[in-house]
């Protein structure tokens, strides 16, 4: 017996970071009795520690709630959470595609931010019903009228009737539940039509293997059935279907409109693509559900173990990380300076940073990360087009006809007093002005096209500092454009150290080369010989500095023959050096590799 479709409501919550999405979600779970208040871990939906620390959600944890509405009927409310960061906009779009409505949470003390707008547009595009909710209404600085106006003007949704809520105190939360029942349309689908179910996320479970989070559109999913993934064209035996309450609970069947999980004989998470359509192996649907695309990493960097012998530990850790995060790609890489490691691809900067931290925290891997870079398209003189994922992929400059780099269109929201500073920053970052409009008399939206490479360097941090944290931003990829780029090599003792090579605009080669060489001079400790550090474009050296030989070495008294103490001191020194990378005869501390990432960011004029 399938659920009646008109008793199901599938919805997401979309919000800017810190606007209270997780808190509201927690309240909904509490008010519907889905989760016992006592067992409620604050912000239950943010499962990973790291996410909780950063206040952002990455993984999507759908929850099924039973709700008895004021009309006396029982409803099933499926809350499908969405990650709150632009790196994951494709995942957001697939989660939204599994819903009929979205609760748009706006902080009534802050107003509409870039992320809100980006995700709202996604929801509007998918024809979702949007329920505006003004949160933090209990705070004295709440300005519901202003924020209503902003929602109307920026997103184009009438917010006069928006729910007023304090997720913190619980005020207004019952009203939100009623509105979900009233305003989110029930799903529609045909039990008898060929199976179509959307995979909107997948995770790895130690007991059950790969778990796909699914939304059934047509047909039914039940254990024992053979299913077919339409994008990857693979068949699997369906072992188990179930729902989230929020823990996994087995059910017999999932029918149209329902949200739940499946466990099949899927071996690795890379086989379960977010956005893929599941159909019946014996009765294929005529077409997959719309909107699928294969996620492609846009930001790359190299990971290398600090201790060379830990390469297998790093590989295992990456494999385990990939089990839960199919968006990470990695392939072995061999660096002259850093030995064996992996070139890893990510959806964005945040994704990269989180992955690095998880490797460190969850798997105890000590690693050196090289500066992030984007993918370049290089047109060779023979007309061939190649992709360069790292500086060392760049061919000899004489063979290059043209280099193209990825561009993004950037939207920045901010109070108008910061417009000048933000524009200057965009210009410095090789941005080209697209447009500017006033959202309200005090708030401005600024649009620029900008090389992604400039953006990933440090744009976010810089924007935060010039706007004192009042700006928010969002971006779209807009394809590749030709640019006057050069590869700058850094030579230590006349040997190029690939980990320090970087690509930059011709105009910035000197200033960045100078900054990098200067920083390395500062960070590489003096050694027993003089070390020249140079920056070069092709064969032309553009910057040179020398690290003088060591001269300071304390000749302390070794009193009373206490040799053990002396030995321990020496061993400590040795340990310190061990943590450094050997490049030829030169020991380079890990900080130099990390700081390299910072300098290439900060020193341009």
């Amino acid at each position: 017996m399938y659920l009646e479709l008109d008793r199901i409501r599938n919805f997401s919550i979309i919000a800017h970071v810190d606007h209270g999405k997780s808190t509201l979600a927690d309240r909904l779970l509490e008010d519907t009795g889905t989760v016992d208040k006592r067992n409620m871990k604050a912000q239950l939906l943010d499962m990973l520690d790291l996410e909780r620390e950063r206040g952002i959600t990455i993984k999507l944890v759908p929850v099924r709630m039973n709700y008895k509405a004021k009309d006396g009927k029982e409803y099933i409310l499926n809350l499908i959470d969405t990650p709150g960061h632009v790196d994951f906009s494709y995942e957001v779009s697939r989660s939204l595609a599994a819903c009929e409505g979205a609760v748009l949470v706006v902080d009534s003390t802050q107003g509409v931010e870039a992320q809100t707008v980006a995700n709202s547009y996604l929801a509007v595009d998918l024809d979702l019903a949007i329920l505006p909710v003004l949160n933090k209404i209990d705070l004295p600085s709440a300005q519901p009228d202003r924020v209503r106006k902003e929602i109307k003007e920026i997103i184009g949704i009438d917010a006069d009737d928006a729910a007023l809520v304090s997720a913190k105190t619980g005020e207004g939360v019952p009203d939100v539940l009623e509105r979900i029942v009233r305003d989110v349309p029930p799903p529609f689908g045909d039990t008898n039509a060929p199976l179509q179910a959307l995979i909107f996320d997948s995770v790895y479970d130690n007991y059950k293997g790969v778990i796909c989070y699914v939304r059934v559109v047509n047909g039914t999913l039940n254990a024992g059935k053979t299913i077919h993934f339409m994008a990857t064209k693979q068949d699997y035996e369906l072992d188990e279907v179930g729902v989230f309450k929020p823990e996994m609970v087995k059910v017999d069947e999932l029918g149209p409109g329902e949200v739940g999980y499946i466990a099949a004989s899927v071996k690795t998470i890379t086989e379960a693509h977010v956005g893929d359509t599941i159909t019946d192996a014996s009765r294929h649907a005529a077409a997959p559900l719309p909107g699928y695309r294969k996620v492609k990493p846009v930001v790359f960097c190299g990971y290398f173990p600090v201790e060379r012998e830990n390469i297998n530990q790093l590989r295992e850790a990456l494999e385990k990380l990939q089990i839960n995060d199919s968006a990470i790609s990695f392939e072995p890489e061999n660096s002259v300076a850093l030995g064996f490691g992996f070139r890893c691809g990510f959806l964005g900067l945040l994704h990269m940073e989180i992955s690095k931290e998880r490797l460190n925290r969850e798997f105890g891997v000590d690693l050196v990360a090289t500066a992030p870079n984007v993918v370049y398209q290089i047109v060779l003189t023979n007309g061939e087009v190649i992709e360069a994922h790292r500086p060392s992929d760049f061919p000899d400059p004489v063979k290059i006809q043209e280099i193209r780099e990825p561009y993004i269109k950037l939207s920045i929201f901010m109070p108008d007093e910061f417009v000048g500073a933000a524009m200057k920053l965009c210009q410095d970052k090789r941005g080209t002005y697209v447009g500017m409009d006033y959202l309200t008399p005090e708030r401005v939206r600024l649009a620029y096209n900008m090389p992604l490479a400039e953006f990933i360097l440090d744009f976010n941090d810089k924007l935060k500092s010039v706007t004192r944290g009042y700006a928010s931003l969002d971006y779209d990829h807009i394809g590749f454009r030709a640019a006057n780029l050069v590869k700058v090599d850094v030579l230590i003792q006349d040997e190029p150290v690939d980990a320090f090579s970087f690509i930059c605009h011709d105009d910035q080669a000197y200033s960045r080369g100078h900054a990098v060489v200067g920083k390395l001079k500062e960070l590489i400790p003096r050694q027993l010989f003089e070390i020249p550090v140079q920056a070069a474009v092709g064969k032309k050296v553009i910057v040179r500095m020398n690290i003088k030989a060591v001269r300071k070495d304390v000749l302390a008294k070794c009193y009373g023959g206490d040799i053990t103490r002396k030995r321990k001191l020496l061993e400590k020194q040795k340990e310190g050096k061990k943590r450094m990378k050997q490049v030829g005869r030169v020991s380079i501390p890990q900080e130099a590799f990390l700081a390299f990432m910072d300098v290439t960011k900060t020193e341009d004029k």
């Binding site: 050694q527 027993l528 010989f529 060591v550 001269r551 300071k552 070495d553 304390v554 000749l555 302390a556 008294k557 070794c558 009193y559 009373g560 023959g561 206490d562 040799i563 053990t564 103490r565 030995r567 020496l570 061993e571 020194q573 040795k574 050096k577 005869r585």
Partner: protein, 376 residues
């Protein structure tokens, strides 16, 4: 019953720590205090007990060298010195070749001390001069001035001892010229032996609290390495220069992995392949000895690899360096090969390798810590 401490014909070195000073110097972090009332007498009796503890385990060995340091051994008066000598004599043997050194400070060294020492069997006196510059001595918080230092050296020489003096470089405000003057005077004052140390700021000392700016010290040391040999003081060890025949056998014994016992708080010893260190501080020492035990607080026996590396580090302190044949005999050919592998990253400017020896060059000695830390 087999006694692990007693192979036949053992010749030992002995270090005795006198943990007292008239005043703590500004830079000093060693184990010493200003004695009050009968502290010194009480201490000598504790020392006697510690020596007894050892001599019940090692049957009155012959001492090839003995070093009485501190602290300031000249804080002890004549009667106390007589007692100390009695204690040492009752537990150890000497012969005519035994080198016996005592440390002295210029302000408390008296003629009476010198007489007493000469009449016993002291052969060397090591004077804590540190500098011939009165301003530098003040910064260090020394109790003597340059004139007293000169007098102390003269008296010790006149008494017929082999005389050594300690000097410090890298002092706050010390110019290269000042250091040159101190060294020149040192080389012209008849000393047999000169020890050089670089000032290091030790945590918890008054000088470190001021966090003064210290000169690099590199040039000072390099100058000494060049200048002193010209005056016939050969650099036989990283910190030590001596006229021929006046090298400190006691120190060389440390670097040659010879056995020695250390007595008194914070003293260290090496015996039967085992390194130990005594408890620090007079109070704890008193408790331990008073309870009839030893003062040993910690000990370690290194595995073959670490011992081979430690031996290399110690030997590389000396200008003769590592005697390869002996090293191979003790640790094996493969240990030597592994050592050579660790050393091959250093250029010939720093390390000299001949058929017989592996040595640091003068330049190598200037950056010795770096080299040692690679091979330890």
């Amino acid at each position: 019953m087999h006694n692990p401490f007693e192979p036949p014909n053992r010749r030992l070195s002995l270090y005795i720590h006198i943990p007292f000073c008239e005043r703590k110097c500004n830079y000093c972090a060693f184990d010493s205090v200003v004695p009050s009332a009968d502290d010194c007498d009480v201490y000598l009796e504790l020392l006697n007990k510690e020596l007894e503890w050892w001599s019940s385990r090692i049957n009155r060995p012959l001492l090839s060298t003995c070093y009485i340091g501190g602290g300031t051994p000249t804080v002890l008066g004549c009667a106390q010195w007589e007692r100390l000598i009695q204690i040492i004599d009752s537990h150890f043997y000497f012969d005519d070749t035994s080198e016996v050194t005592v440390e002295a400070n210029p302000n408390s060294l008296s003629g009476a001390h010198l007489h007493l020492w000469r009449d016993w069997r002291i052969t060397r006196v090591s004077i804590g001069v540190q500098s011939f510059d009165d301003d530098e001595l003040k910064i260090l918080g020394r109790l003597h001035n340059a004139m007293q230092a000169r007098e102390a050296i003269s008296y010790a020489l006149l008494s017929g001892f082999s005389v050594s003096a300690d000097f410090m470089f890298g002092l706050p405000g010390q110019t290269f010229l000042n250091w040159g003057r101190t060294l020149r005077e040192a080389a012209h004052s008849g000393l047999h032996h000169i020890s050089l140390y670089q000032l290091s700021l030790e945590e918890g000392t008054p000088l470190a609290a001021q966090s003064p700016k210290l000169p690099e010290g590199y040039e000072s040391y390099r100058w000494a390495q060049w200048y002193l040999p010209h005056k016939n003081y050969m650099q036989y060890e990283i910190s030590n220069f001596a006229l021929a025949g006046h090298e400190s056998q006691h120190n060389l014994n440390y670097w040659r992995e010879g056995e020695y016992l250390g007595m008194g708080p914070s003293a260290a010893g090496y015996i039967a392949g085992w390194r130990y260190k005594n408890t620090s501080g007079l109070k704890k020492y008193e408790q331990r000895i008073g309870a009839g035990g030893s003062a040993i607080a910690s000990g370690e026996r290194l595995d073959a690899y670490h011992r081979s590396r430690e031996a290399a580090v110690l030997a590389l302190r000396t200008s003769a360096g590592i005697a390869r044949e002996e090293y191979c005999e003790t640790f094996g050919k493969s240990a030597e090969q592994s050592l050579l592998n660790s050393l091959n990253k250093f250029s010939e400017e720093l390390v000299t390798i001949t058929d017989k020896n592996i040595m640091l060059t003068r330049k190598g000695m200037r950056v010795a810590n770096r080299i040692w830390s690679e091979i330890v």
